[in-house]
Symmetry: C2
Subunit: 242 residues, 2 copies
DNA sequence: CGGAATGTTGATATGCCTCAACTAAAGTGG
DNA sequence: CCACTTTAGTTGAGGCATATCAACATTCCG
């Protein structure tokens, strides 16, 4: 499978592309890069000249705090485009790192812009992708600001599981999540002790579990319900033709 | 002044547009709409056929919670485009309402898409605008998840003040903010009592105050410092003097 | 096998929520 | 213009969720 196929598959989830668009995307050249767990792909302040698609593994975006700590902002799985924003924002306002082993494929901005000019539909599809990103950020605001501890954790799990499933990355009701409890805390704005206690709650109610870097969803309906999760904001249906 | 001029001014802050682009934008037709305080402009679930620029006043985006409460997601001032995402996301995942009196100018999606096809640079500029939006959401995640109460409030004030200033909406060190303490609480994920206490703290330290629907910034440097505010994430290429 | 990282659990401290009472300000009708 | 009503702001008391800290268990990995 060509690296760009992962992207193509994703775009097709929500956008109509004609055969010319598809051919143009498949013709894009890209630079493959493998990352070790925790390694940064780009850092806050960088001025990237390319944008990358996740090929394998998981990648996270995060803010670095004044005290050196982190606030994780989003997780990205195969097919995602964690730094598409770099296309039009000169400087990175956050960093991107690998969570577990990960590999990406970086495409030069100049090639992409050229493609968007020649084939507006491709640009609109990628634009839509960045808008879905924004919708996910909005939901994270709501999650971290107005839900109880367990609900927050359950919602975080729900979204990741749903998105993994949409990208065909779920096997045996489980998906990749090589995050430790500290990192979950840095995502949800809670201490490690609290993460642990809420995680136990989810285990006890047999909704979900986290083991050896994988999220196991024992009872999807219950998990979604605890997390007050509704997938509407992920805009997963094929959108209208433009 | 033409309604589209407000938008034009904003786009020029970060994007280069040639005279053809500018002329094309100025040729856009738009439907003017005035809103009473609190009135919704669009609701979660709607499928808008147009996108609107804020002409006057202030507008807010919010999620409606299961219990009927609200989580405010962002504030928008004159020149902002609170629902540009509707261009490529069929269904609204949140609502937009007026905060105080506000007026908007709605442009049909079809006209915009046509313009983006004819003049990619305009599309890229608007795209960039939506990417800055996303950066603001990211910062809100960090703000609401990992800063102390006072810092959270101070950061919220700082951002609004900085953005208002960038749009020439600051007079006498004050800018519009017709929000009551309850609404601030629904923005920052804190109770009204806590908002009040932190607000008093900011008053006491003479950093900022909130009176009759306006935010008064008494000591900008101190406010920014308390709020750990740095404007980098706003990607204002032309950073104005305050 | 030993050391490091991660997970687990309890005790204590604290920031914030909830509730309730009260005050001040803004709007309304006579 | 004043009396009345409503809304917003203010403040204290009590309780709860979560942070913090510390000790220990477990798993991972060279």
């Amino acid at each position: 499978m060509k690296p760009t196929d992962a992207l193509l598959k994703k775009l097709k989830h929500h956008s109509h592309l004609d055969s010319g668009d598809i051919a143009a995307i498949r013709k894009l050249g890209c630079r493959f890069e493998a990352l070790l767990p925790g390694a940064d792909f780009i850092r806050q302040g960088d001025k990237p000249k390319e944008s990358a698609i996740v090929i394998e593994g998981m990648v996270a975006r995060y803010h670095t705090l004044k005290n050196g700590g982190r606030q994780y902002l989003s997780l990205h799985i195969a097919g995602d485009w964690p730094d598409a924003q770099g296309l039009f924002l000169e400087q990175m306002d956050h960093s991107v790192c690998a969570v577990g082993n990960a590999s990406l494929c970086a495409i030069p901005h100049s090639d992409l812009i050229k493609l968007f000019r020649a084939r507006p539909a491709v640009g609109f599809a990628v634009w839509r992708e960045t808008l879905i990103d924004a919708a996910i950020f909005r939901e994270a605001i709501t999650n971290n600001s107005s839900r109880t501890g367990v609900a927050r954790l359950a919602h975080f799990f729900s979204e990741l599981f749903f998105r993994s499933n949409a990208n065909d990355l779920v096997t045996n009701n489980s998906c990749l999540l090589p995050f430790n409890q500290t990192q979950i805390g840095e995502t949800l704005g809670m201490s490690i002790a609290t993460v642990h206690r809420h995680l136990q709650e989810l285990r006890k109610t047999k909704a979900a579990d986290l083991r050896s870097g994988r999220l196991i969803v024992t009872d999807r309906v219950r998990l979604f319900s605890i997390g007050d999760f509704s997938s509407q904001y992920l805009h997963a249906r094929v959108q209208r033709r433009i």
